[in-house]
């Protein structure tokens, strides 16, 4: 089984990863509001229409760019 980054599951994981994790710096020099509750609140609304957005092409550019790099990874959803 090969991993995929081009379907809806992958998008959900990506959004989760970018918002919930990643290195966090706490120093005077750094400004951040990316604490989870704040972003999470907005994201709840943001994700409601994710599939619709995919259909309407919002993700296409990103998707295509990354599909090229992962052309073998299509359809890794195994029942």
């Amino acid at each position: 089984m090969r991993p995929t980054k081009s379907d809806d599951d992958a998008l959900v994981d990506l959004v989760d990863a970018v918002l919930r994790t990643g290195a966090v710096v706490e120093a005077d020099v750094v400004i951040t509001v990316a604490d989870v509750p704040l972003v999470g609140l907005k994201l709840r609304a943001a994700l409601a229409g994710m599939k619709t957005m995919t259909e309407h092409g919002v993700f296409e550019e990103w998707d295509e760019a990354h599909r090229l790099g992962n052309s073998e990874a299509a359809g890794e959803r195994v029942e």
């Binding site: 980054k5 400004i31 509001v33 907005k42 709840r44 994710m50 957005m53």
Partner: protein
């Protein structure tokens, strides 16, 4: 929101090992992405004067994808980067970024070395909980005894026995799920550099619905793996998915978001187990 006003700042996507490579890409809102180099490190940034915050779902989503896209590009150019959380902004100009890189160089370099040639993958295993419940009901001696007693009981006793039956069934099911998740964690962990059990932690924003809301998740993991380890994990997942009651989702490669450290050595804001 506090402390959002500043004159000049640098939005920080990631820090990567320095190299000769250049990076020509645009980031959030098509801002030109630049490299700031210091102490053998490359910070991937763009100039900004405010934090990124919006009520618009579309904008937020575009930002997240743009953020990830830049980190991906940096990864291709420089090797595994240390990705920063969305909306991390360094106050000041390039000199401020250089000072920060210099001050943190030892820790940043150590972390980058540990992550080199490794990427993050996410594994979600969905099981057929109804089938597991049926099996427990058919095979657990205590459950069967309770069921028999319940059939012969008067109404009040029947109510109590039903409660006991359900409590035991729920507990057995939970024990079974935990045992299978632990077994999976051990097997997967044996193939990967590192594994984090994401447990029942909901994914950010997932609680708004979606087609998969009603699936029964057996386990979720983030694994850190080299290419060889990824192959091994994939083979293992083929075995796991061979069970008709099991569905496996395997995504990546992602920058090692889950395996990045807290750089202040303070509180854990990433909810890792």
């Amino acid at each position: 929101m506090t402390e959002t006003a500043f004159d000049e700042g640098r939005y920080l996507y990631c820090v990567a090992p320095d190299g000769d490579e250049s990076l020509s890409t645009t980031g959030l809102d098509d801002e030109p992405v630049r490299l700031v180099r210091e102490a053998g490190l490359t910070a991937v940034v763009h100039d900004c004067g405010s934090l990124y915050d919006s009520d618009s779902a579309t904008r937020i989503r575009r930002w997240i994808l743009a953020h990830q896209s830049v980190v991906d590009d940096a990864g291709e150019a420089f090797g595994t980067p240390l990705p920063f959380q969305f909306d991390t902004v360094i106050r000041g100009d390039d000199d401020a970024v250089r000072s920060w890189l210099d001050a943190e160089s030892e820790r940043l370099t150590d972390h980058l070395d540990a992550l080199a040639e490794r990427w993050e993958y996410r594994v979600e295993v969905v099981w057929d909980e109804d089938a597991a419940r049926d099996e427990l009901e058919a095979t657990d001696a205590d459950l069967r005894a309770l069921a028999e007693r319940r059939n012969d009981a008067d109404e009040g006793t029947r109510f109590l026995l039903t409660k006991r039956y359900e409590t035991r069934l729920d507990r057995l099911l939970d024990e079974r799920r935990r045992a299978e998740a632990a077994d999976l964690a051990e097997r997967l962990g044996g193939e990967a550099t590192e594994l984090v059990d994401l447990g029942d932690r909901s994914r950010a924003g997932l609680d708004v619905g979606g087609a998969d809301e009603d699936v029964d998740v057996l386990a979720r993991f983030a694994v850190l793996a080299t290419d060889d380890e990824r192959e091994a994990v994939g083979l293992l997942l083929d075995d796991v998915a061979a069970d008709p009651g099991i569905e496996v989702r395997f995504t990546g490669p992602w920058p090692p978001y889950t395996f990045t450290p807290e750089l202040d050595g303070g509180t854990d804001a990433s909810d890792e187990v």
